[in-house]
């Protein structure tokens, strides 16, 4: 059972990673406009991509 000496910290570490990500998302206002974010992803009015021939030159 000595394996749990390693496994429990690993599990806790993973959990803390997730918690850290959550706290970051809250502190960077990711939850302020849930409706807007849902629509923004569907907007496809990006600038046109550079022409392929130009890239290969």
């Amino acid at each position: 059972m000595t394996i749990i000496i390693y496994l429990i910290p690993v599990a806790l570490g993973l959990g803390l990673l997730g918690l850290g990500a959550f706290l970051w998302s809250v502190s960077t206002n990711q939850y302020d406009d849930l409706d807007g974010a849902a629509h923004r992803i569907l907007m496809d009015d990006d600038a046109p991509l550079p022409r392929r021939s130009k890239l290969s030159e």
Binding site: M1, I8, A11, L12, G15, L16, G18, L19, F22, L23, V26, Y31, D32, D33, L34, D35, G36, A38, H39, R40, L42, M43, D45
Partner: protein
């Protein structure tokens, strides 16, 4: 396709909200400047979909100098940052031209506090969920290894659980502990007292068990409790903040700017809260007054429909008083402010709103009633179990364990979720149908309604006159004159006649009419006496006369038309057994005509704002649960006093924030609101019933000493899940 392009030209491209007119205002007073970068926050009304978002942002980004334009769709706030000479008005006009209502926005401190409270709860919830996952990981091993796991391993796992639980309990549980402590110090008890007690006892007993090498530790149960309770608390705070934001709209209206004439005779834009008594104010044509004014110079027609409900404009001249909320129609007016904006009629209405809020705060929600029943019941049961087990010869340790497990398993997880989840689901579905809920408990109040009071102008009717008697050639001629005027009747003529050219030599005579020449012939459009026609014997609605050389006077008659679905909706509501009543500030003839058409027996005309509030008080005293629907400033007091209230999307900001919900589209929304609220109330009652049924099963198991941490965990999560799933049915039933 044409319909879509038409809609895209103005307002929401998905048609979720009608084009919203903006109130004329000067925005330069609200710009903040930092190192050449100017920022302005605008409150945008009428933006409802992704199309609105890209339309507004793209149009603004194309304005020269604009660095960033970002719109928040959830709360309608638009933040614009720009450099260079572009004016704030240019920015605001760009958005207004797209068909959205724009007003300046400055955040106050209470809104900030509410926002940080919501964020605190969200973080606490996240931390508790993290701890729950990790403690559960260890608890499942203990349960799975029951009988095989050595005592030392078990105690070690319990110990680690305890180490995770302690900081989280202190951090995430502080919301409950602090509130409970504050309540106890004042000698009261609230919901947080039994919650804190259960949390602390569960943790304490678990520490004791771990220290003595016992088999059962309740760390998982206490953290699970915390997590579920925080979910309910967070949803509640979120709904409450949305409500507060609605109330804040009142302040946003006061934020509007106006033009003060300085000693040197030049006009400067100032914020409404900077006005002092005696200031000379210039009110341009098309501008809405922010403060009460005593007119010193000029003469003009004013539209007081938002103040008094009167649908016809009246002429105002030197020496008369103009009330805040009135719209100046034709000529610029100069007036002396009768007091600061906070002393205007608007603020008297604000006082009425406050009185209404206080009455409403006394309303006891179902959740409050449930808690009042629940707390004494659970605590007595736990205490009785403790005493009974002691008397039956159990050890003190065993008796305490049983009493605590009773408290844990009956802790109001499901109770804390029962109401907020149902309210959140219901307000979400209403939002999709264009109905914006202002407070969570409004649904409960809306479900109890038995009497409906309606305002006329702008609520039952469209609020704008329509031409009913059309004349082909004369109409086109008259339209040449009408195009130059802001008068509502002129606008109605133009709407029927369509676009075209404008007459020459236009002269507008306030209160009389318009004069102008077409093909070098002079024409007049206005009142009967002014154009020299004899008034007809029976005149039901507003009218205009039109005369020219060698032609007989022509009469144009107008009518304030009913909303297209008004009779249908009201008939359906009558069938539901609701009492119907019209309460209007307009003239008797106009109101009785509408009442007859809709077959409503009770109506009151020419009611003042205070008269409306008094009528609502009388109805309340008579034991009626009144739903008030109105849009004007004159309705605001009555809206706040009613048991529940609704305002149409085109209503004055004040009225919107005095209401429980704002609807867009026609009166049909009334039916939706009433059926959703009934349904929500039913689901909430079912949820409390389920929570009670759960306790009926759980309490006997607990007091007989059969609860293990495994059973507690299953029972608690199952009850919360059932309550949440039941609430989701509100959504399913609507579609």
């Amino acid at each position: 396709m044409t319909m879509i392009t038409d809609a895209a030209a103005s307002g929401c491209p998905s048609g979720l909200a009608p084009p919203t007119p903006s109130q004329a205002s000067d925005f330069s007073a609200f710009v903040r400047e930092k190192k050449g970068l100017k920022t302005l926050t605008l409150s945008v009304r009428g933006a409802k979909c992704g199309g609105c978002l890209s339309k507004i942002e793209n149009k603004l980004s194309a304005v020269s100098g604009v660095q960033q334009a970002r719109m928040n769709l959830s709360n309608g706030k638009l933040q614009v940052a720009w450099t260079g000479a572009t004016t704030a008005d240019r920015i605001a006009d760009t958005v207004a031209a797209l068909g959205y209502g724009v007003s300046a926005f400055s955040e106050d401190s209470s809104a900030k506090a509410a926002k940080s409270e919501e964020r605190d709860l969200l973080i606490s919830m996240g931390v508790a969920a993290f701890a729950l996952a990790n403690v559960m990981l260890l608890s499942v091993s203990v349960w799975g290894g029951h009988g095989e796991m050595g005592e030392q391993t078990r105690t070690a796992l319990h110990g680690i659980s305890g180490l995770i639980a302690l900081p989280v309990l202190i951090f995430s549980g502080r919301h409950f502990f602090m509130s409970a402590f504050a309540a106890l110090r004042r000698g009261h008890a609230n919901m947080d007292v039994p919650i804190s007690l259960a949390l602390v006892l569960a943790f304490g007993v678990s520490v004791w068990e771990t220290a003595t090498g016992g088999a059962h530790a309740y760390f998982d149960a206490s953290i699970m409790l915390l997590c579920f309770l925080l979910i309910g608390r967070f949803l509640d705070a979120r709904l409450r903040r949305q409500t507060q934001a609605a109330a804040h709209e009142l302040a946003a209206l006061q934020n509007r700017s106006l033009n003060r004439i300085g000693a040197d005779g030049r006009a400067e834009a100032i914020r409404a809260d900077e006005v002092q008594k005696g200031d000379r104010i210039l009110l341009a044509a098309g501008e809405r007054a922010v403060v009460d004014l005593k007119i010193t110079q000029g003469m003009s027609g004013i539209d007081e429909s938002m103040v008094s409900g009167e649908s016809l404009p009246r002429t105002i001249g030197s020496g008369e008083t103009l009330y805040a909320g009135s719209l100046n129609l034709d000529q610029p007016l100069t007036g002396e402010a009768l007091g600061p904006a906070s002393d205007s009629l608007l603020s008297q209405i604000a006082d009425m709103l406050e009185a209404g809020e206080q009455k409403r705060a006394r309303y006891r929600q179902i959740a409050d009633k449930a808690v009042a029943l629940y707390v004494p019941f659970v605590h007595t049961t736990a205490a009785l179990a403790f005493v009974a087990w002691l008397m039956m010869g159990a050890s003190a340790h065993q008796a305490v364990l049983i009493a605590v497990s009773t408290l844990i398993i009956t802790c109001p997880c499901a109770l804390a979720l029962a109401a907020p989840v149902a309210q959140v689901v219901a307000s979400g579905s209403l939002f999709k149908q264009g109905i914006f809920l202002r407070s969570g408990d409004a649904l409960e109040r809306l479900a109890e309604i038995d009497h409906l009071v309606l305002d006329k102008t702008g609520t039952l009717t469209l609020g704008t006159p329509r031409l009913v008697s059309a004349h082909g050639e004369e109409l086109q001629l008259a339209a040449h004159l009408a195009r130059a005027s802001r008068h509502p009747l002129s606008r109605a003529i133009v709407e029927t006649a369509g676009p075209g050219s404008i007459a020459d030599d236009i002269r507008e005579h306030p209160g009389l009419g318009v004069e102008g020449s077409v093909n070098s012939q002079s024409y007049r459009l206005g009142s009967a006496e002014w154009v020299g026609a004899s008034a007809p014997v029976s005149q039901t609605g507003p009218s205009l006369w039109f005369v020219g050389p060698d032609m007989k006077p022509v009469l144009f008659e107008f009518e304030d038309q009913l909303q297209s679905d008004a009779s249908e909706t009201l008939a359906a509501l009558k069938q539901r057994g609701l009492g119907l009543e019209i309460l209007s500030g307009d003239r008797g003839e106009a109101v009785s005509k509408i009442a007859n058409t809709l077959a409503i027996e009770t109506w009151h005309a020419q009611v003042s704002p205070t008269g409306k509030a008094d009528r609502l008080d009388a109805l309340r005293a008579a034991g009626k649960k009144v739903l008030m629907v109105g849009d004007g400033l004159n309705d605001a007091g009555a809206l706040a006093l009613a048991h529940a209230s609704l305002a149409p999307g085109g209503a004055m900001d004040v009225s919107q924030s005095a209401s429980d919900a704002v609807y867009s589209g026609g009166l049909g929304a009334l039916q939706t609101v009433l059926s959703v609220s009934k349904r929500t109330k039913n689901v909430m009652l079912q949820n409390f019933g389920l929570a009670a049924a759960y306790n009926c099963v759980a309490v006997p198991i607990a007091v007989t000493g059969h609860v293990t941490p495994l059973i507690a965990a299953i029972a608690m999560s199952a009850s919360s899940l059932i309550v949440t799933l039941n609430a989701l049915r509100i959504k399913g039933a609507l579609t």
